[in-house]
Amino acid sequence: MTAAATSTSPPTSTGGQSGVRLARSRRNAELSLLLLAMVLVAAYGAMVEASVLDTVTPSFWVPAAALSAVFLGLHVAIRFLAPFADPALLPAVALLNGLGVGFLHRLDLARATPAERAELATFAGTGGRQLAWTLISVALAAGLLAVVRDHRSISRYAYTLGLAGIVLVMIPAVLPPSISEINGAKLWIRVGGLSIQPGEFAKLALLAFFAYYLVRKREVLSLASRRFLGVDLPRGRDLGPVVVVWLISLLVLVFEKDLGTSLLYFGMFVATLYIATERVSWLLIGLVLFFGGAYLAYVLGDLIGGPFANFYLRANIWLDPFADPYNDGYQLVQGLLALGSGGMFGAGPGAGQPLKLPEVQNDFIFAGLGEEIGLFGLSALLVVYLLIVERGLRAALAVHDSFGKLLAGGLAFTLGLQVFVIVGGISGLIPLTGQTTPFLSAGGSSLMANWLLIAILLRISDAARRPVTGGGPPSTRPTGGPPEQLHGAPTEVIRP
């Protein structure tokens, strides 16, 4: 993967950023990387079967083949819809998604009795469901690429998306806990057997809104300032929107009882704000506000309890998980024990005991994997995530319009932050929160939303890498265009 990442940099060193770029789509590189990823997924499946069933069944390759078909479909769609998209994104995500399906299938094997194991079909159990969700999610991603032919058109719906985002965030908070609460966090809408996490989609909608809003306001936010202690502070009245988002994220913290989501929204906003204004002061203000708020919630949880009690409890579990290893600290303790049992090399795929972990198909999937693939395997997964994030940021760097820069940068950072929040949570680095692990965790909402995120990054990277020869945008460009101020020539601020 690393080799692929370097090979996708501009192939002509003489040209540099401003020079004539050789127009290479690198779709074949994407194809070969994708096939390599699928070979890894098939090998993982074979190792799991060898360990759990003591034999490799003749059909071990079927899930990998089904996944390959799905991803190859997207690959073909990209060839037509976004031919210059970043070639590393799809294979990297496909690898994670495939390993996720493989691990969930491995959990099904562990749950089944020896008699049932032989007949466990490819599309049965959580692994099978995840496979089906993958098909739907990838189809949606392809659909998004087909509908949105220019990422700038998204900005036309910015206010609609912003409103939709806030509504999606708020729904679980106002719903009764019987519908919205799982494991103490109110993040779900559960209807029948289906649970939807609207927050996963809200993330995308809110980010599109932030990007649009900040591109419009960035001059005001970045120029009007006072210096204080060597830091440029914004004017009081410009703080308004930041305070609003801060309040929203604290409301999420208190009413949805989830620090992770709160941290995610707030971090997302502060990061885009910083990218838009280039003002370090916003970062400092954001960090102070967030940690101040979290500390306040902790103190209030200790003093008055009520809506803050959950956060207080979670923070205490984080501080000493072994204080109550069988009740409050049970999840985190089991996560740490699984990771520790895996050690450097892991027990081997299929050789661990992931069922000892609570929520192993969701929050703790990274710990469950860690027991079997060890520190080395987890490090490789982290590198794959990092690769996706950095490729997203690279698309942001290379694209010419500010909206695209902010959207791609924000999405990539949000993905990275989400990985940090959940992996940090299950490994005791930060208080544990109920986030999904992107592309690995079981669940349709998360998978769909994250594939849509990847589709947008693919779209923006296509725009970034598309050769500008011929003067005009491609013929597929939608007419009617987004608002004027968004697509004047490059809007990058030149700083001395």
Binding site: G340, L375, Y385, E390, L397, G409, G416, G428, E492, V493
Partner: protein, 501 residues
């Protein structure tokens, strides 16, 4: 906007760096803590995925692992049941391991560093090669006899112990503690059954879980006279030196008068040291001890192994099952001066003198082995799962030299006289020279006396082939004679067993 984008990229790198560092902390630095944590249920499942090695003695498997259908793939079973319970210990699922099962766990479970070859082969073949097999020094015949004779002792005693070892090597030939227990329910995979069995044993007032052969300390009575006699021989006395005796003797600083077990024993004013030992003359040894002094007596006892609190029995050079320290106890007044009454009583193995059956057997073995005390051990060999790779063979090792070979020869003659003419006649074995010393120790004001016997057997060429100690707790009159009889039976079986040279 590119500069902040690059910085955001850097921030993500830092965040992932933190994740990476933290995973290193958990999966590398803290991994062993978490892997072996008490809260970690996967420890035992993994442990039961590999077939545990056998514990064997004389070609008989005493602890074997059998395949099951459950989550724990192997069940530990003990075919011999209670007979070897204290010799090998047991390996329960949730409770603590004991004995050889605990001491040799790394080899049995296959986790020892020395088994790296097997583990590497497993990586390639995908098999789970069983753990290594631990072979014990126990002689099947001697153990059978020790267990049966102790169980069916003619005094109807319910508590006691017997231990036999080879004086030339220290290899333990038999180890029985009574009452014993069936270790099989303790190893049950049904944790309720195992816990119930354990609780029942734990609450039994006779303490069946206790390994009396190594862990019980009781007043040794007259068996301790061998230590006093050794001290005398080293301080100018000979077998024929006459020492003051009499039907009764009261130590200078009042105290109770010390009497003999029967009026017929040494009523004369003086007896030879030889006769004092043969007849087990209390009045003679009480006066002898006072004459020798507390320091001399204590030092001799220490040279025989008293006061050692770090002795373990298992594999030589490794930790095994701990042996309780034998003690001479205080023989002093509150002001620190020697109390002659206490010294006199200590000289005949009463007062605060305490001894384990193993210590008794070691004293007899030392006398038989020309004054050289060999370190006792239970593990003779460790064989790999293939039964050909040899990971360990015991190389006997001298623990200490308590007496010179001359003193040992004198003591040997005295102890032989005990069996030939004195209180230990029950231990005689035809065709072998047997020596020993009986002991009857007061256990308390209202409880029957403990019966002891320590002894050894020499073959026709004078080579020591077995040393033994038998303890019958609260056996009452004739307890030591019954102990001598059982000791003789055990030594005869040990001599007859194929492993004996």
């Amino acid at each position: 906007m590119n500069a902040p984008l690059r910085r955001v990229g850097l921030v993500v790198m830092v965040l992932f760096g933190l994740l990476f560092a933290n995973l290193n902390w958990i999966q590398a630095y803290k991994a062993d803590d978490y892997r072996n944590s008490d809260y970690n249920g996967r420890v035992q499942v993994a442990e039961y995925e590999r077939k545990r090695g056998n514990i064997e003695a004389g070609g008989t498997a005493l602890a074997v692992s059998k395949e099951t259908d459950g989550e724990l793939e192997y069940l530990r079973t003990y075919p011999a049941g209670a007979k070897y319970a204290h010799a090998i210990g047991y390996k329960p699922v949730n409770l603590a391991d004991t004995g050889i099962e605990e001491a040799e766990n790394a080899f049995l479970a296959g986790t020892s560093d020395q088994l790296i070859g097997d583990r590497l082969r497993d990586l390639v073949t995908g098999d789970e090669t069983a753990g290594a097999n631990v072979l014990l020094t126990i002689s099947k015949q001697a153990q059978d006899v020790a267990y049966e004779q102790l169980l069916e002792n003619r005094k109807g005693v319910s508590k006691g112990a017997a231990i036999a070892l080879d004086p030339r090597t220290g290899a333990i030939q038999a180890l029985v503690s009574m009452p014993s227990f069936n270790p099989n329910p303790l190893a049950s995979h049904d944790s309720d059954e195992a816990t119930a069995a354990y609780n029942e044993l734990q609450q039994n007032p006779d303490g069946p879980l206790k390994n009396r052969a190594l862990g019980e300390v009781l007043p040794p009575g007259s068996t301790f006279k061998i230590v006093a006699a050794a001290a005398a021989l080293e301080n100018g006395f000979t077998q024929d030196t006459k020492i003051p005796a009499g039907p009764s003797w009261t130590p200078p600083t009042s105290g109770q008068p010390i009497k003999n077990a029967a009026p017929s024993i040494c009523p004369e004013a003086e007896v030879t040291l030889m006769n004092a030992v043969t007849e087990s003359c209390n009045t003679g040894f009480a006066q002898l001890g006072v004459r020798l002094g507390a320091d001399t007596l204590k030092q001799k006892a220490r040279q025989f192994g008293f006061e050692q609190d770090d002795l373990t029995v298992g594999r030589l050079g490794e930790d095994g099952e701990p042996v309780a320290a034998s003690r001479t106890g205080s023989m002093e007044n509150a002001d620190g001066s020697v109390d002659p009454a206490a010294l006199a009583q200590s000289s005949i193995g009463q007062r605060d003198v305490r001894m384990t059956p193993l210590q008794g057997a070691l004293i007899a073995a030392t006398v038989a082995n020309d004054g050289s005390q060999m370190r006792p051990y239970l593990v003779s060999q460790i064989l790999g799962a293939d039964r050909t790779t040899n990971y360990y063979t015991a190389e006997p090792d001298e623990l200490r030299q308590p007496v010179s070979d001359q003193v040992a020869a004198d003591l040997r003659e005295m102890m032989e006289s005990v069996v030939q003419n004195g209180t230990g006649r029950n231990a005689r074995i035809s065709g072998y020279t047997v020596g020993g010393k009986t002991g009857t120790a007061q256990s308390g004001p209202d409880t029957p006396d403990h019966g002891w016997f320590i002894g050894f057997a020499l073959d026709k060429d004078g080579n020591p082939v077995s040393a033994v100690c038998v303890l019958l707790e609260e056996a009452g009159d004739g307890g030591s004679a019954e102990a001598a009889r059982i000791a003789g039976q055990i030594m005869r079986a040990a001599i007859a067993s194929p492993g004996s040279r």
